[in-house]
Amino acid sequence: MFKKLLIANRGEIALRVIRACREMSITSVAVFSDVDRTALHVGKADEAYHVGPANASESYLNIEKIIATAKRCGAEAIHPGYGFLSENPKFARACEEAAIKFVGPKPSAMEIMGSKTRARQAAMAAGVPCVPGTARGLTLAEAEIEGAKIGFPVMIKAAAGGGGKGMRVVRTAAELPSAFETAGSEAQRAFGSGEVYLEKLIENPRHIEIQVLGDEHGNLVYLGERECSVQRRHQKVIEEAPSSFLDSEMRRRMGEVAVRAAKSAGYTNAGTVEFLVDSERNFYFLEMNTRLQVEHPVTEITTGVDLVHLQLRIASGEALPFQQHDIVMRGHAIECRIYAEDPDNNFFPSPGKITRLLQPSGPGVREDSGIYEGWTVPLDYDPMLAKLIVYASDRPSAIARMKRALNEYFIGGIQTNLGLFRRILDHPDFIAGRIDTGFLDRLLSAKENGAVPVNGLSEIAALSAALFSAAAPSGNHGSSNGVMPSKAKGAASSGWKRVARAEGLRNL
């Protein structure tokens, strides 16, 4: 096993890997940008090195700098986490050339799965069902012929794309030319390649993905599925395992197909094969993510394996400690992604200082987070703050437990999407498991079913506001035991003043 590992990432996933290192007696090395000096992963790692300015392209995406840092501190391996360099074959190559083990698949496998068209070709060659469509870039003329063949509605997608950019739904042949043009130029701007292709549009599909794990001795298994249909603009918000839509037979079939797809690319380490599933339970290969997923905990909890530990064992050359038939899913797990964004205001991001933090705990609750009370969430990186994961023996109990945990969770000072989850978890369609990738957008476009009834709570709020006002100025009363918590007091008074200033009142 490695003695020292560098984590080329930040936030909760850096903490996740640091914890695995500590549990495996590996020295963990963090890297940080100018604005992350006070980030939690810097303090929790055994070592930490500065790799550049806030701008990720000069720090967390700076291959040369990160490799140089790994060499300097003598790290034998690098875990890329997710995002940043995790799916960049150039980085994996650079590690290879520097004789540093990249914790992930070989660059060749990343290259195949990194290109939508090549991945699709590989999948089809391996007999993996794909959405009817063209596997390669097209001219408009070709697109019009293919469109007719496939039959409308169709989807235009960018070959190099992701995250919805360069995507267009085309419902009639007439719409094709303009959609083709805009999608192409959008793709050009976003990915530097205007190459687009056509796919049959699957209406209201589910997004269900299979976790695969392969060692470097030819063993490759699947670890059940994750239901990821609750998305906002192709961004996952809630994930579950198992999917209430699958039975064991379909799970087996999808799992075996996923293993075939992975094997066709010579895949090793942890990866995820994403499928679209239509209402008739047909499933189609969507893409493969060649890294650890954000939502890996729901798989860990239901299968009882530790994916990060296994990633490191595999990377250090160990064989998988189990076979397919050893994998049993138990109970139900749900994950909520906590973002610093304001669901009540166009999901505007909300960086800033976390003035108060209460984190849930107790039975069946797991929190993976990279934040602490007093930390200022920088405005330079993506807004995910933490992941709240719950486990229970069945889905209804898991939903109830998640609501309980959300009640205990409080992040003050910035806006978060914590309130949104309750709306989702209380929605009859979610409760019934009637979810597809359009579910959340429909829920959001629907009227809030009236403000939450605050039965008598406003009286309490009014009383409390008065109490805090009374306590703020002097701070020698307002407490039953004469002790005014410096935390509440300090912040309160400043809070008052700030607002007073904002209103130009000077008579304080």
Binding site: F410, E459, I460, A461, A465, S480, N481, V499, L505
Partner: protein, 165 residues
Amino acid sequence: MIYEVTVAERTYKVELSREDASWQCKLDGKPFPAEIVLRSDGVYSILIEGKSYEATQEHTPLGNNIVVGRHRFTPTVRDPRSFRSLRRADSAAQGSKKITAPMPGKVVRILVAAGAQVEAGQGVLVVEAMKMQNELKSPKNGTITKLNVAEGSPVEAGQVLAEIE
């Protein structure tokens, strides 16, 4: 102490007095049977005929909120004695409408010039934060009377970026 507190569109008169270690309080003149303790984690534990409530205070760049259980309130507190008033900066604006930055970030594009006519919902400027570009729209039909920022300028949450008359 007497406070006027407006919460969820309703205004309450809250009278507080301390007898030895404990708070007595009246709501709109009537005694309010609240048994109140401030815990040293800054949370008020309030018992009202057995019902238990935890009330805490949230400090944000836009002012202070009160959180009761999981419900967030944005109260306006008026202390008649000192006329000191707690009120959200944005709610203070009467008449002319302002566009304030909902989050700290950087102005990456200005879509209309000062003096220009805009319609309600029309994009006025774009602020980038956390890798996302966020278009701020005009709250009403009118004329851009003020444009307080230029492209590239960093902005604070709550900062007034533009005013529409």
